[in-house]
Subunit: 366 residues, 4 copies
Amino acid sequence: MSSSYGKNLRISIFGQSHSEAIGVCIEGLPPGLRIDMEELMRFLSRRAPGHNSYSTSRKEPDKPEFLSGLVDGVTCGAPLAAIIRNTDTRSSDYEELFDVPRPSHADFAAQMKFKGAQDVRGGGHFSGRLTAPLCIAGGICIQILRTHGIEIGAHIASIGEVSDTPFDMVSVSADAFKAISDNSFPVISRKRGEEMLRLIEKVRAEGDSIGGLVECAVLGLPAGLGDPMFDGMENRISAIVFGIPAVKGIEFGNGFACAALRGSENNDPFCTDGITIRTKTNNHGGILGGITTGMPLIFRVAIKPTPSIATEQESVSLSKMENRKLVIRGRHDPCIVPRAVPCVEAATAVAVMDALLENKKYQGGE
Amino acid sequence: MSSSYGKNLRISIFGQSHSEAIGVCIEGLPPGLRIDMEELMRFLSRRAPGHNSYSTSRKEPDKPEFLSGLVDGVTCGAPLAAIIRNTDTRSSDYEELFDVPRPSHADFAAQMKFKGAQDVRGGGHFSGRLTAPLCIAGGICIQILRTHGIEIGAHIASIGEVSDTPFDMVSVSADAFKAISDNSFPVISRKRGEEMLRLIEKVRAEGDSIGGLVECAVLGLPAGLGDPMFDGMENRISAIVFGIPAVKGIEFGNGFACAALRGSENNDPFCTDGITIRTKTNNHGGILGGITTGMPLIFRVAIKPTPSIATEQESVSLSKMENRKLVIRGRHDPCIVPRAVPCVEAATAVAVMDALLENKKYQGGE
Amino acid sequence: MSSSYGKNLRISIFGQSHSEAIGVCIEGLPPGLRIDMEELMRFLSRRAPGHNSYSTSRKEPDKPEFLSGLVDGVTCGAPLAAIIRNTDTRSSDYEELFDVPRPSHADFAAQMKFKGAQDVRGGGHFSGRLTAPLCIAGGICIQILRTHGIEIGAHIASIGEVSDTPFDMVSVSADAFKAISDNSFPVISRKRGEEMLRLIEKVRAEGDSIGGLVECAVLGLPAGLGDPMFDGMENRISAIVFGIPAVKGIEFGNGFACAALRGSENNDPFCTDGITIRTKTNNHGGILGGITTGMPLIFRVAIKPTPSIATEQESVSLSKMENRKLVIRGRHDPCIVPRAVPCVEAATAVAVMDALLENKKYQGGE
Amino acid sequence: MSSSYGKNLRISIFGQSHSEAIGVCIEGLPPGLRIDMEELMRFLSRRAPGHNSYSTSRKEPDKPEFLSGLVDGVTCGAPLAAIIRNTDTRSSDYEELFDVPRPSHADFAAQMKFKGAQDVRGGGHFSGRLTAPLCIAGGICIQILRTHGIEIGAHIASIGEVSDTPFDMVSVSADAFKAISDNSFPVISRKRGEEMLRLIEKVRAEGDSIGGLVECAVLGLPAGLGDPMFDGMENRISAIVFGIPAVKGIEFGNGFACAALRGSENNDPFCTDGITIRTKTNNHGGILGGITTGMPLIFRVAIKPTPSIATEQESVSLSKMENRKLVIRGRHDPCIVPRAVPCVEAATAVAVMDALLENKKYQGGE
């Protein structure tokens, strides 16, 4: 355990890269909500591989089949379960890996944990493919949050040394999100996006891979969301975002930069126009004491380079306990950052939805 | 909710800065363990204020009173509850804050959440004082983990622009931890520590504050600790560490730096001497796929500058909905990073203990 | 684990019969609620021993001290912690029990579980004394539920072979509850109550004890409370009520009697007056499919006779693994059923409050 | 919420009677366990309808499809998901029920809860059909428990006024379980079983239904299983068993009978042969203080008569708020007690497995 997340909206993700299917069971969806399946499919297609030079050439339709929880496309209060069949799988690509773990993959750690019983094919339950059911859950939550006036958007903040224009931490708007998702490549600056694509192509040609950053913003959050101590918004978001493979860091607001600042520089002055209260700057990233202030909630996550690279690497034979050279075969993304963008949005949507339901408990007068 | 953390070892923290007492209830401690109270007090004293120029001049004995869970100092299987009385409290310092929230404090967000009912005195439940019961729980876990050969150490990685020598990510040892905790100021390089102290003193004299980084390492972890997806070690640790006030970012291994690297640079080759398996480098920070590899688990957290500064700041009157100047009175640390060091150790100990108990379930043959 | 209960309102109970204190930490109380301390003390006094022939002669003031969660008697959103000091304890009464477990007490089972580390004095964490913090939590919930128009009442349904008048399952009213709590002995029929008291006195004189039934009703519940499958109202209530020592059975509505009935006898016809919908009979005890129907929620619990009796019993010496005669000394209730009545009310209040908060999540339009 | 159960072994059940599929996601299964699929199918067939006069004439193959969690039939540490397709469904049978709730069914309560959004077809998520995924989970746990020497058996204790021979509470053995499951009708006394079948046939012919009792025993449990207060074995078992539709009561050991007994009658004397410790009688049903004693764990559950009967009943039109006669069409079991027997075993197995994993945490020296 645990491939489950959430207290009020609870998602349980199952499946391995090469099992019969992967899927998600979602408990706690409010009843009576119509899910826009076309919009959901558009959202899922942003995560899907096979479109570009930067992703694996596998074709995954990733079309979810809804097994329960809906009546004529409307949530009925029962748990919603959806699955995606695994079809384009080539198990033979992975046979060697049972004995020789891939550097910086979960293979070795999982082997130690599950004592050799784990499903090593395609990374098993640790495969990036498991973000597809996360995106189903997140895509549904995004639709629900929109009805509350809450919008979530993310973009590639950087790939290697190439950086995109960052979000304006004070005045980022949903229009910016629209512009990003209209791009086939999720960046704000198309010019920088083209540089990134060239870099990815170069890296791919060299049999290498590259990491990057994703920046995510949540708009329209009411002040007062999140809970003290261990259920603050930072805790909630990081607890789900680190479930996306390859994430190695997260920072909120100005994040690590705040460590070098003085209080007089870092503090965000409050101001009011007589109607609303806001802060003039947003170094706090919309969260103070774990609780939203009503300013844009902004954070960045660090994504490591895909560990599966084409060049020969050093590993060990677990059975013989001796050093061994390893060449990874199969098809792998040279850069997973673009596909991580909707995953970060999805994870955030689930975390925000869970916090929102928590807050509903205390509304309405008792 | 939730001021509770953990599934196997569950801590519930209660109290406000100026309530009768603060405390913690710990469920799930294995029975039959003797707690070394002197060692625990030494650990708690590392968090206590009042010793140095860099911390508030309040005297807090922070001596815990154990109410339950022990028989003659040995855990008995029942929940362990411990409290610390609040004595040196000056409520009048905080009266204005009910109406005029302190910039970058939790005041405003909490007001929005609890609709004016929250305890505003001294930050209430959001006070840094609530890390004292966290340190009680963590200090106990540290003692238990030691019996499993697991050691946790942290140091100030930087304050402002002054950096300490980092941990050697491959070969950091418990000796390094010992050297740090023998220092009154928790750094590796005494010279850099003196620079930091001078910087803090300077900032204090200017009525300002300053942020910093804490680096933490866990040694002796078995490979295979942690769980897939949302209960990976990164998820578990970040979910508790963000419960320490002022933490705004966390990164594991080489963290944010990995975003600029290629796979060929970032991947950690496996190697063996025929007996054990390790990696030559440790960019992964001891965690792959959320699960420990047996290499040192290393992470850094970003701590923002104390928001309570002596200089006049801009805020608003919530009752009058108009802009207002605010001067914060009372005693405040110009830099909380030194006191955050044992808190990060404590939080980590609780997270590791919880993961360790999870793993125990699957040992011994079924 | 687990001495905690609840998902939305979470109570964590700690303490042993002879530890420094017993207490409860309550998370999730809505902020801004004034607690009527006098009413709470009256509720707690119904559980307190020392008043009557039927309870132990120990004097327990059981006055709770509130450590956190309140500002001037009003909930502030932070966890509420309350403790009761243990004062009148005579440890020497229990020394023999460490080796010779009392028949039908938790001594032996706890010894097996905690491998000899458990606190054997007074039953330790298994003592009936631990229902005092449950009653603090429940007493607070009762006050909150009342503001929602929800009333909880219980009475002694029987002691030995002497039965009280049962609740009218269709038309029981809060007036009936008032009449019961105005009695010093919680029964509907005073005549039967006097018979019960004579029976208890007789049993006490014989150095024996006696069991009984408690019947509990909840009025004013909205239809639609409770959740499918494992969070139905029966599941929720039984999961907490079995936490009261000595409870060995629970039945809802006509309960075990339904096993001998036909559907045509057991089914409760629906009817309407054009405004509300109700059932003509209430064999279902206000719960169908785990969810409230708006009819009175009614259940009964079986309480076994106090296992501590004065007559000599057969046991074993754990250290010598040989049979041994045991005479239990100390002061013990000949019948705990009267004191169990408020405990059942308290447990029910916590369960209902938790379900009510769950339902709040889905109100108000999404 | 919540259609999930368990803390260490967590099952999440999804599906509605007429959704695409029903299923279960199981987290926390120890890795490396081979599941005997033939044995599992035999177990599931005991719950399946269509074999006898006492069950509905629908044919449900109920053959589970395993989607994840297994590699070549062996658990791999990832969540195990299994589904059963819904095929033989006749939605038209249920159209009227959307407006006119069936007496003593969940229809009305669910309508109130889900505000008209719920899936009314076949009872939706409240259908007895949802016990099939529970039996998949339970059937797997039964196999695991057997490797620990733990056996679970149940039988029909009574139908209407016809009672089976009860289990011998002190010396019931696994042989008794074998004899029961060798019967097509799960009773100890074949003669009484024939009487029960005649009674069911008579009731069916009259268009009526009938209730009954199920008695369940668990053998081979170590002493020390279960946890204090709210995670006692009674709490754990009742919290899952009430998830089986139609259960209205549960009692452990001598249960409700203890309410009429004296302590001197009800207490179970300990005795030893120098090697093991046991009790001479077993009124406590193998549980003291919520924790197992090593004696057979025995409980009984009350099952109400199937609310779907052929005779005309009184109900209301929800849309018109007026009284209405209702005749339920479709195919329904006149008595669900026989099919409830494996469901009770399955639920118990899940609860015991969860408690067993909890205990594993504290083994092996810390």
